[in-house]
């Protein structure tokens, strides 16, 4: 079978996903173009250099609607002969784009692809695209729909994670992210966002709060208690699904959940021929990909079964993995992953994660894969696994190894 390799990975810095965030003035198409143009320039992608741009994006309405992927290509310096494919696997869209691209390459559908994604959460807020699962009674009720924050708190309750543990993980994520920036671990991947005149807009992850400590987090109120316990009472639905639970322990808040940010990321994927054509050396081989559906109520435990699946399908064991990126959507997601596989936190998200730097939904999967590859090289390790939990109960994973 043809192998799929990663030749390069870039990302924008992450801007606060609010009206006062630095990237709020940048359209989703322009933000996409920053990543695409960087990939083009760094790798000399002239003409029909790749078959497609597979672009993850969650809220595909407004300026992110109407096949943003194609719009992004046209907004970039890539040749118009390169089409674009918008995809949505919620929070794993960026990773799924990589996986789809890799499998296209492996299947022989051309030499190279760009995969990645974007989310301008400040401009197209989460939930802008509606969706039936939350509001269509015959779907919501039959599937015990609860919002993600409630799901994260169900995980904490069911698997026995405390608020202190979650807060400690959040503090550590902030510490690691700061240390990684200070040590220049992101220098290779991050491309600054500039305006039309070349003036700088943002060059670093502005969401980070390195001063965060247990005390400051302790002051935060649980985010999902109100909707869980009073209106409209999602905890009661959680308990209908998990009747052995007496009540839901609401441990998550803004500090130990992922940040709402704007950002984009792009990965260049191709077979051996692509490297030869462009004169590039592959940095990593995409060894395996996987996706799975899980219970939609607890929703966010997907990283566990999808990791079990990817290991099983490829004859590997958890011990074969040197480094992990497990998206920090909520602290309990990472805690559950580490608990299920008995993996030490020293191997997981070593450069910090979404709790510190933010989670631009459609882009994050591609971002953490890039971070994983950079870190494998930096720390001279071989095999890494990236995985994300996904809305409506799914999981996605990718295993890469250095070549």
């Amino acid at each position: 079978m043809t192998e799929a390799y990663i030749y390069d990975a870039v990302r924008t810095p992450r801007g606060k996903g609010r009206k006062d965030g630095s990237l709020h003035e940048v359209t989703a198409a322009r933000l996409s173009a920053v990543a695409l143009n960087a990939l083009k320039e760094r790798n000399g992608l002239e003409g029909h250099a790749v078959e497609d741009v597979i672009w993850g994006n969650v809220s595909q309405v407004g300026e992110q609607g109407a096949c943003l992927a194609r719009t992004a290509v046209l907004a970039s310096n890539l040749d118009e002969s390169i089409p674009g494919l918008s995809i949505n696997r919620f929070c794993a869209s960026g990773l799924e784009a990589v996986n789809v691209a890799a499998n296209q390459v492996r299947g022989g559908a051309g030499n190279g692809y760009i995969a990645g994604g974007v989310e301008s959460m400040s401009r197209v807020p989460m939930g802008s695209d509606g969706g039936a699962i939350a509001v269509d009674p015959s779907i919501a009720i039959d599937n015990y729909f609860v919002p993600q924050g409630i799901s994260a708190d169900i995980i904490a309750t069911k698997y026995g994670f405390t608020r202190d543990q979650a807060d400690a993980m959040a503090v550590e994520s902030q510490r690691r992210a700061k240390a990684a920036w200070d040590a220049g671990h992101f220098n290779r991947s991050v491309v600054a966002v500039n305006d039309v005149n070349g003036l700088p807009i943002l060059a670093y992850d502005e969401f980070m709060r390195p001063q965060t400590d247990m005390q400051s987090l302790g002051a935060l109120k649980p985010s999902f208690q109100q909707m869980g316990e009073t209106m409209p009472g999602f905890d009661k639905i959680a308990i209908l699904k998990y009747p052995e639970l007496e009540r839901i322990n609401h441990i998550h808040h803004a500090g130990n959940s992922s940040g709402i940010v704007d950002g984009a990321a792009a990965v260049l994927i191709g077979n051996k021929e692509l490297g030869e054509q462009l004169g590039l050396k592959p940095r990593a081989r995409i060894r395996a990909t996987a996706k799975i559906g899980t219970d939609p109520t607890i929703m966010l435990t997907g990283p566990v079964p999808v990791t079990e699946k990817i290991l099983r399908d490829n004859g590997m064991s958890i011990g074969d993995i040197d480094l992990f990126e497990v998206n920090e959507a909520f602290a309990s997601v990472v805690m559950r992953f580490e608990q299920a596989f008995n993996v030490d936190h020293d191997k997981v998200n070593v450069n910090g994660g979404s709790m510190a730097m933010g989670h631009p939904l459609g882009a994050t999967g591609a971002m953490i894969l890039g971070t994983l590859m950079d870190e494998l090289e930096r720390s001279d390790k071989e095999v890494g696994l990236a995985t994300l939990c996904i809305g409506s109960g799914m999981g996605a994973a990718t295993i890469i190894e250095r070549v």
Binding site: G127, G130, A134, V135, D136, P137, S138, A140, I141, Y144, F145, V146, M231, P232, G233, F234, K236, I237, I239, L240, P243, E244, L245, E246, R247
Partner: protein, 732 residues
Amino acid sequence: MTDFTMKKDGEGIATIVWDTVGKSMNVMSIQGFADLSAHVDDALADDAVKGVIITSGKEGSFAGGMDLNVIAKMKEDAGDAPAKGLFEGTMEMHAVLRKIERAGMDPKTNKGGKPIACVMPGTSLGIGFELPLSCHRTFVANNPKAKIGFPEILVGIFPGAGGTTRLTRMLGAMAASPFLLQGKMVNPAKAKAAGLIDEVSDDPMSDARAWVLSEPKIVKPWDEKGYKMPGGTPFHPAGFMTFLGAAAMVHHQTQGAFPAAKALLSAVYEGSLVPFDTAIKIEARWFTNVLMNPSSEAMIRSLFINKEALEKGAVRPAGVPDQTVKKLGVLGAGMMGAGIALVSAQAGIEVVLIDRDQAAADKGKAYSAAYMDKGIARKKATPEKKEALLSLITATPDLDALKGCDLIIEAVFEDTAVKAEMTKKVEAVIPEDCIFASNTSTLPITELAKASSRNDQFIGIHFFSPVEKMLLVEIIKGKETGDRAVAKALDYVRQIRKTPIVVNDARFFYCNRCIIPYVNEGARMLTEGVAPALIDNAARQLGFPVGPIQLTDETSIDLGAKIARATKLAMGDDYPESPSDDLIFYLEAEGRLGRKSNAGFFDYDEKGKRLGYWKGLGEKYPLLEEQPDLVEVQERLMFSQVLEAVRALEEGVLEDIREGDVGAILAWGFAPWSGGPLSWLDIIGTPYAAERTAELAAKYGKRFETPALLKEMAEKNQTFYGRFAPAADKAA
């Protein structure tokens, strides 16, 4: 004979009068719809007719609703395609109402058409409100006692003749939800304030005539271009939050157990995204879906048809003259006696409330005063009503005051000797033909009757606590109890507007016989290490108001211990030993007596708020590593009650299955969606029930053994309602 007649007058108004033959309130039938449709066609086609008024020939009401037998008929007529029959039948109703609503207007321009007003002299429920909603303007008589609304959800269906779609479009999903999802019914003034009706008037007919002749605008908002649903459709920001919340609340408030609310909300949601004519088609599809659900059929049967039949004297002995109670003696002014006095006085019955001294008797009467004070504070009563009620209650220790009573209800301490002494003393005072009833919940009536010199006039009238809230009264016939005593008890229960069941005398009668094993099964699971939350949640998901563990805490642990000890004493060696008794005795010894002692299976704070299950229990009965399946827990809880109902039927304690089902729902909140324990067996099928109980018996013990009757019915693949329903009920 037809229920609808039409008269055209010189001013050009055609008046259609609805007057169901042989009923005090109008009910809609298939023929009625056809007649109404023909009149509407006639009026719309007649150039001399300028407008139409639809009204009722009944004084004080427009219509009570649909003849629920129509639904059974539609199903039956469709043979082996009942869904098709129901859907098409429903669409025919839509067509008639839509014809009224469109009234001949041009479909594109909305030009033309004739105004159709509805004049409602009073109560307008179900289809009796759906028909007015299809008219162009509603005029309701200023009748504060009238009720307007959609009670359908209360019997497990929903307004399926456009009421759901029209009300949602009129008010928006949020504002319509109490009327649709909770069956809220209101008087005309409140109905107008809520936007349900257009006019409340002292002379609705002349107002309607004037309106019809005023060449009014008749097109409905949803038939006009640019219509926007109030509060927003699901994918507008505000509407999204409404529908998000509505789905969640319907889900947890029904515990996922009642199909009608979910189907209704689906009709609202899907209907709100499409034009009106498509919306009513969707409504009809979901309506059919609900009608096809065995739960709806069972709920209608138990909560509507059979409940009403029992209230109207279905089991009253034939030929006994009216036994209306005029003067009631209540012995014992404790919680039960005080409640009995209250509900009796509310029914206008003169009450003598007896206790050992004046203070104790007064305390019992004060209960009624406090109750009325609460009513006054909530503007549901007036000081005059309170005085009138209290003037009916004489509180005294003097037995002589019982002279002239025609019914006595004894509610003294649960002790055979104490009750016997009271019986003798009172019988010395009361008239010879007075009926004597005991409100005992545990002692056999036949035994208590031995103290009476007129044991054919001795009977059990078992109330549930709190008396003023509980809807059921269990009447128990002792061996010697005569027909007049039964008729007296039934007539009394009708006076106080509760639902009666009549059962024969046996240990714990019918209701407690079923409840006690249910509560014990819960306690037994605790001793096995099943998580208390799983047990209570399993029960709640079955539609029980509270789980067995919580119920035990509410009724108190020592009561459970007392019943266990007394039963053991009475049964001797036959008493089935159970670890649940050990658990109850253990808690009793620990002083954890339940809510009343602020400690039981739960911990409570000093204000009595439940904090959570008492963790200490886990030290004596450690939790199982692997918890059982929800379904396993649920089946143990269900069969522990249901098998007792079957045994009660088998032993002749229950004489009529309707009483077994209605009684279970009203007395202890048995899974209302199932229609009751025997209906539940019909839903799951007797073969499955027999097979499953045999498995449970092998795994958990004799108490789950399949009763011979159930075994036999399983072999013959019979249903309870097929085999035991009284003749008149078989069609329903």
